[in-house]
């Protein structure tokens, strides 16, 4: 850990990472700076006026509407994180401990699902769940009557799409930290008299925490940028920050406002990452050199 912190002192390393650093600086920080600059302008007749004032920001902070959408986004993101972790833990545990023989096949299938374009998958859900879709058709033929399931076009459907599309991140991060747990630790717990459930609770779960935290952070940050699911599956019933920003740029053609809202979302993401990082460091420092 101490060595990692000193990496910036290593000139050779700095030189070696210079191309990547320059690339990141140019294509990441410069646009971010431009976005920040843009948020201090105003619009007139759908054109950006270089006025350098704080009007847009006052607008952002005084309109509760924007913040209720932000809150809705964070709530959805947190719900998504919770669901992803709850679903991924048993899946990853089964992958590591119960499905040794088919482990690689299952991993390949998850990767295939993961790499399939999100737009296709999301519309796939619509085709499947729609009132005239496959599932309703089947339920109708076995006698559940028309529209047995009417679960599309509401916030729940948005959440379903989000969890579905983001699940692989938590499955794989948790899988990796579970796979790293020494089998002997589990045996040692059994040997000391612990039941399987107790062993999971006392040994497996605490040791999988790095994966849970990493996966949770990834899913949370990615959830903040979700717009496809809320549009296609939520049917606009659950406006999310990303959709708000898209509309502000494209429909309302208010670029300064869009830029300001973008910065708000980025700030939420950065704060979350920072908080999770601090939590992680704290947990690690308690463990000493481990």
């Amino acid at each position: 850990m101490a060595d990692q912190r000193k990496s910036w002192r290593d000139r050779g390393l700095m030189l070696a990472t210079l191309p990547v650093s320059a690339l990141m600086l140019f294509f990441f920080l410069v646009p971010l700076g431009l976005t920040a600059a843009l948020s201090f302008q105003s619009t007139k007749y759908y054109r950006v006026v270089w006025s350098w004032d704080t009007g847009t920001w006052i607008d952002v902070f005084t309109h509760g509407h924007y913040w209720s959408i932000m809150l809705q986004t964070i709530t959805m993101a947190l719900a998504c994180v919770a669901l992803c972790i709850i679903i991924s833990l048993p899946v990853a545990y089964a992958l590591v401990n119960r499905m040794r023989s088919v482990e690689n096949h299952v991993k390949v299938l998850i990767v295939f699902a993961f790499l399939t374009d999100a737009v296709l998958k999301t519309f796939g859900w619509v085709l499947f769940l729609d009132r005239t879709g496959v599932m309703n058709g089947m339920l109708e033929t076995i006698g559940f009557g028309p529209a047995a399931t009417d679960i599309l076009f509401n916030p729940g459907a948005t959440l379903l799409g989000m969890v579905y599309n983001l699940l692989p991140y938590t499955i794989f991060t948790i899988y990796l930290s579970l796979a790293r747990i020494d089998r002997d630790l589990v045996l040692a717990a059994y040997d000391a008299g612990a039941s399987r459930l107790r062993t999971f609770w006392e040994v497996t779960l605490p040791l999988s925490r790095p994966g849970v935290i990493a996966g949770g952070v990834l899913v949370f940050v990615l959830s903040l940028g979700v717009f496809l699911e809320s549009k296609v599956m939520g049917g606009g019933t659950s406006p999310m920050a990303a959709e708000l920003i898209r509309q502000t740029f494209e429909t309302r053609v208010n670029w300064p406002l869009g830029a300001a809202l973008t910065l708000v979302v980025i700030a939420i993401g950065v704060l979350t990452l920072g908080g999770a990082g601090a939590l992680f460091l704290h947990l690690n420092s308690r463990k000493g050199t481990a």
């Binding site: 006392e202 040994v203 308690r286």
Partner: protein, 367 residues
């Protein structure tokens, strides 16, 4: 539990992994308070046997009782055994105190009792009280070892199983922990079953040694039996170096007559107790331990048996000097270990006489 009933009674245990048979008809009994070592090269089945005793593996055939209870189908959490793992398996996310207390916590002992017994264990294992709040990664290898022993012993199991816990340590630390384990065994009086590939370690620690090879127990006996009365060349060669001379034996009533090329004895007859069990007349191997041989350049101090040869090489080992002597008629160089002196008694190329007492010979099965 009286002295006669074994605390572990394993009978004719078979263990299959798929089509591979790891254990073949293994029987082992361990008495209360006894220290038994399972020794053998890797893949001999010693760890499989230990895992079966611990309950991590099921047995494919045979029977196992521990403490008078049938153990078939009993999970490790319900067995009166504790294991010390090869890689220790200390919980990295728990302090030394929490690690040692874990078995007591699972047994729902009251907090005062847990604290008291953890304290006692730490004291017994010479762990400083200040270590209680440290994490395993903050301790040295030897200290971690002591914590692992403390965790295994804290709930006073009937049997402690040790799976080569010393194999990863450097020689000096290993010696001090061997002494520690021996002391712990004397103090607590629990039965220990110790798996190791190091027969020297087994000789130092155990009351009884089981030498295993390819899933079978070759010989079970006291350390001196294993060393001086090995059943075959494999057991004999497992510790240190030894000389095995091909021989032909005859067994007239009440004695044993042998004949080995390169070896001349005034009276080539041995007592019946100087042969491995079940040895028939015919081809066999004659064993003489290197340290039993007297090496000299003159014929004056001959023993009962003599071999003559030429020094091929010698190694000064400090406490002793090892000679390798080519004896006409004997294929492998004969090894003699003589007490170390500043003046080696013979040089390379010298003709020497190797003499020894008849009583130091032992006849065993040829491999």
């Amino acid at each position: 539990m009286n002295e006669k009933t074994p605390i572990i009674d394993a009978r004719s245990i078979d263990k299959f992994y798929g089509g591979y048979q790891a254990l073949k008809q293994v029987s082992l009994s361990v008495h209360a308070g006894e220290f038994v070592a399972l020794v053998g090269p890797s893949g001999c089945g010693k760890t499989s046997l230990l895992k079966i005793l611990a309950g991590f593996e099921d047995l494919s055939g045979g029977s196992l009782t521990i403490d008078g209870h049938d153990m078939v189908g009993v999970p490790s959490s319900a067995r009166p055994t504790r294991m010390v793992f090869q890689k220790l398996a200390l919980f990295p996310h728990r302090t030394v105190h929490q690690n040692i207390a874990f078995p007591l916590k699972l047994a729902r002992r009251p907090k005062e009792e847990i604290d008291r017994r953890v304290g006692e264990m730490m004291e017994l294992m010479h762990l400083r009280a200040a270590y209680a709040t440290r994490y395993p990664a903050q301790l040295s290898g030897g200290e971690q070892q002591r914590v692992a022993l403390a965790r295994s012993m804290v709930s006073q199991p009937s049997v402690l199983l040790l799976d080569e816990p010393l194999s990863a340590l450097d020689v000096k630390l290993k010696k001090s922990l061997q002494a520690e384990i021996k002391r712990l065994h004397r103090t607590v009086g629990t039965s220990f079953v110790h798996v190791t590939h190091d027969l020297e370690e087994a000789m130092m620690l155990a009351d009884r040694i089981c030498v295993m090879r390819a899933g079978r127990i070759l010989q079970t006996g006291a350390p001196s039996d294993i060393y001086f009365r090995p059943v075959n060349g494999f057991v004999a060669g497992f510790i240190g170096e030894t000389n095995l001379l091909p021989t032909r034996i005859e067994r007239p009533a009440g004695g044993l007559r042998f004949e080995a090329p390169g070896l001349s004895c005034a009276e080539p007859v041995l007592g019946t107790d100087q042969a491995a069990e079940g040895l028939e007349a015919g081809e066999a191997a004659l064993m003489i331990r290197p340290e039993m041989i007297v090496l000299s350049k003159n014929a004056a101090d001959d023993g009962e048996c003599v071999m003559e040869g030429r020094v091929e090489e010698f190694f000064i080992k400090g406490a002793s000097i090892q000679y390798r002597v080519n004896v006409p008629g004997v294929e492998a160089a004969v090894v003699a270990e003589v007490p170390g002196t500043s003046q080696p008694p013979a040089d390379v190329g010298d003709n020497v006489r190797l003499s020894f007492a008849r009583a130091d010979l032992f006849v065993l099965h040829r491999d």
